[in-house]
């Protein structure tokens, strides 16, 4: 969007003003996330920059909040709980969602519209409503305050993402590749693992990442459903933010930002690999 040489003065002013406005909006998006990282290294129990920090005096910085975090059995067990819940629910959601997407993509699928609507609905229904419904349901089934109850409810939240991403990667799927593979002598199993799965994998992985993040980040349902034994880190953060806020939360928050950078890079790598593979396939 470079400015052409024949632009009028008004166009020039508009062009620069537009760039500045966009810069400010991007700043609004990213600044809050960047700002908490240095604050996690604050030597003082404050939520703001001290004079020492601003003058880059090493005394202003410390690892005490990270030590606090890693030294606390409560925080560590809640982080462990979070990962137990997220990993288990991601595996289940990915398996169920991928199978369903494969079925939905078949031309012979009956009542596709209605079934798709049901499969996607957990994404549309507000979380608090899902929480209200599942809370009573699992209490009656004796599954509230248990890991299976929490994991099952997170599977519900995660599957729509898997269904959507796998369906999307199937939509660009070249059917002739299957016939080509079979005409070259591969049987059905071999075709599935050597041809279909590698092309499907990006969709499956990004769906799984969505499901994982959704579960790891979920507060509303676990807030009602988790007992003291299952308390995940989000619930501990939530109650910490409600009562007295300690910079320990910021230490955990900056670790979570690092995790999201990792996830984002993984997704970007998948996308590039995908584009390369798609570019090679004919049609």
């Amino acid at each position: 969007m470079a400015l052409p040489s024949y632009a009028t003065p008004v166009e020039r002013i508009w062009h620069y003003a537009f760039n500045i406005i966009c810069g400010l909006i991007f700043f609004f998006l990213i600044a809050p996330i960047i700002v908490i990282i240095p604050l996690a290294f604050n030597a003082e129990p404050y939520f703001t920059f001290t004079r020492e920090m601003l003058t880059f005096n090493p005394d202003g910085y410390s690892l005490r909040w990270f030590n606090n975090l890693f030294g606390s059995t409560e925080w560590m067990s809640s982080i462990r709980n979070s990962f137990i819940i997220s990993i288990a629910s991601t595996i289940l959601a990915t398996a169920l969602g991928t199978l369903a997407a494969l079925g939905l993509n078949r031309p012979s699928m009956p009542a596709r519209g209605l079934i798709t609507a049901v499969l996607i609905s957990p994404m549309i229904v507000p979380l608090i409503i899902t929480a209200a419904a599942l809370f009573s349901f699992f209490a009656r089934a004796g599954l509230s305050q248990t890991f299976p109850g929490i994991i099952l409810s997170h599977v519900v939240l995660g599957t729509p993402f898997v269904v959507l991403t796998v369906t999307a990667s199937l939509a660009g799927f070249n059917e002739t590749l299957i016939r080509a593979s079979q005409s070259l002598g591969a049987n059905q199993t071999r075709t599935f693992f050597k041809v279909i799965l590698p092309l499907l994998l990006p969709g499956v992985i990004s769906g799984a990442l969505f499901a994982f993040v959704t579960s790891l980040d979920e507060v509303v349902i676990v807030n009602f459903m988790a007992g003291p034994e299952q308390t995940p880190m989000t619930v501990r953060m939530f109650s910490g933010l409600r009562e007295e806020i300690s910079p320990t939360i910021l230490a955990l928050a900056s670790l979570l930002v690092a995790l999201s950078i990792l996830l984002l890079s993984t997704l970007e790598m998948i996308r590039r690999r995908n584009e390369r593979l798609r570019g090679m396939s004919p049609g």
Binding site: M1, E11, C22, I25, F26, F28, L29, I30, I33, V35, I36, Y46, F47, F49, L96, L99, A100, G103, L104, R106, S108, P110, I115, V118, L119, S121, P122, V125, P126, L127, I128, I129, T130, A132, A133, L134, S136, F137, V155, V156, T159, T165, A168, S206, D217, V219, V220, T234, M237, L241, R242, I245, L250, A253, L256, V257, S260, I261, L263, L264
Partner: protein, 421 residues
């Protein structure tokens, strides 16, 4: 040749000798079954763990079995009563019979508690009478009236008759700030108890406001993302995707750090000298806090669909409009803007639906003036069984609202516009 003409009249046969049409139908049926078998595990799972619980919640919001369950004969006898004066003898006889059964089964306490919820203080009347009733014999009417003057009150019986209905609109009335008055008519609740209707409206207008702010902020940066060369656009896209992938709680705590009275922005303004130390701005634990934090959290959901639509619009369209003499604004308004409407609609619906059901961020930064209806649903979920039913009614109203919005959107734009990442 003759033989081939002859076979063409007969049905074409498949390899195993069955007519081709039949074989085809059978194989299509098998295909359908195979496709369905792949979907079935998830479908059954969601029906049991998602659809049934939601239907159960809706059912719970109108289901009112207590009086009919604990006092079945009284409930039946009251159906014959016209609602005027003190009921006739058969009603009292039924009540006495129910009370004797209730004492035996130890359910009378629960019945008394349920009646007490409608008429405060009625518990002791019921319990006291129930303890004497097995010494009485017919006719019961006079003995009841002698035992406690409350039994002579037609209002008590009217409420009993009303609450003996299996389905009740009580909780929906409460959810929109109405109740039954002492005459049994539907009337607005006293002003001080009116919270929910106002909160529904606040949730709606704040969600609309947040959606509009998101449109205003997302449109320019999506345009920039769509028109920059791929290398720069990919870098800028990270600035949108990183917040998108960052935990909701992390972003909310970031805003607490920034906006609170001892927070980064206030400290900065004081240090620069724009405001005095005693003039610190209140930007959090109120409406402003909710709007700022939620706009930040939901902005990527507006940018991503807008960007994916804008990317497909050739820049030559705008140049063509301008070279044909359109003013830049007119060219944008008549050519570019209409082409972005699908993305705009998808972003709006996504942001609005997410906003209207938000719970976490308003709970943390909303104070009293910035909370949403979800926060009161959550509050009622931790209360008594009557509050649980109220929570179910509030949640059902919210659910219906979301489904209507979604349905309208689906009619206008189509669901397949919703894409992620």
């Amino acid at each position: 040749m003759a033989s081939s003409r002859k076979t063409s009249r007969e049905p074409i046969l498949a390899a195993d000798g069955t007519p081709l049409k039949q074989a085809l139908r059978r194989s299509q049926k098998a295909e359908r079954r195979r496709a369905f078998a792949l979907v079935a595990p998830l479908l059954i799972f969601l029906l049991i763990v998602f659809v049934v619980p939601i239907l159960a919640m809706i059912w719970r919001s109108v289901y009112n079995p207590e009086i009919r369950g604990y006092l079945p004969q009284t409930a039946a006898a009251l159906q014959q009563w016209d609602g005027q004066d003190v009921p006739p003898e058969p009603v009292f006889q039924a009540m006495a019979a129910d009370m004797i059964v209730g004492i035996e089964n130890r359910t009378i306490g629960r019945a008394a508690a349920r009646i007490n919820r409608e008429i405060p203080g009625a518990r002791s009347t019921v319990m006291r009478t129930a303890r004497q009733v097995d010494e009485w014999s017919a006719p019961y009417r006079e003995k009841f009236l002698d035992a406690d003057a409350d039994w002579a009150n037609p209002e008590l019986w009217r409420i009993l008759k009303r609450e003996s209905r299996l389905l009740t609109p009580t909780y929906y009335l409460l959810a929109v700030d109405y109740e039954y008055n002492s005459q049994g008519e539907i009337a607005p609740r006293p002003e001080v108890y009116q919270v929910y209707k106002g909160l529904f409206f606040r949730t709606a207008w704040m969600s609309i406001l947040i959606t509009l702010i998101c449109v205003v902020l997302a449109y320019p940066i999506s345009y920039m993302l769509a028109t920059q060369p791929a290398r720069i656009a990919n870098l800028l896209l990270i600035l949108v995707l990183l917040p998108f992938w960052t935990s909701l709680l992390v972003r909310t705590s970031a805003w607490i750090v920034l906006l609170q009275q001892q927070g980064v922005i206030n400290e900065l303004l004081v240090a620069v000298g724009i405001i005095g130390d005693d003039g610190r701005l209140r930007m959090i634990y109120n409406r402003t806090g909710t709007i700022v934090a939620m706009t930040h959290i939901l902005l990527p959901f507006m940018v991503l669909p807008l960007y994916s639509v804008m990317k497909t619009i050739p820049p030559s369209y705008l140049r063509a409009a301008k070279s044909l003499g359109a003013h830049p604004f007119r060219a944008w308004w008549r050519v570019y803007f209409p082409l972005t409407i699908p993305g705009l609609a998808a972003g709006c619906i996504l942001v609005f639906i997410l906003a209207i059901g938000y719970y976490i961020t308003p709970a943390l930064v909303g104070g009293d003036s910035g909370i949403f209806i979800s926060n009161l649903i959550a509050q009622n979920m931790q209360g008594s069984s009557a509050q649980l039913k109220l929570a179910a009614a509030l949640a059902t109203i919210l659910l219906v609202a979301v489904l209507i919005v979604y349905w309208v959107f689906n009619k206008l734009v189509g669901v397949d516009r919703l894409k992620f990442g």
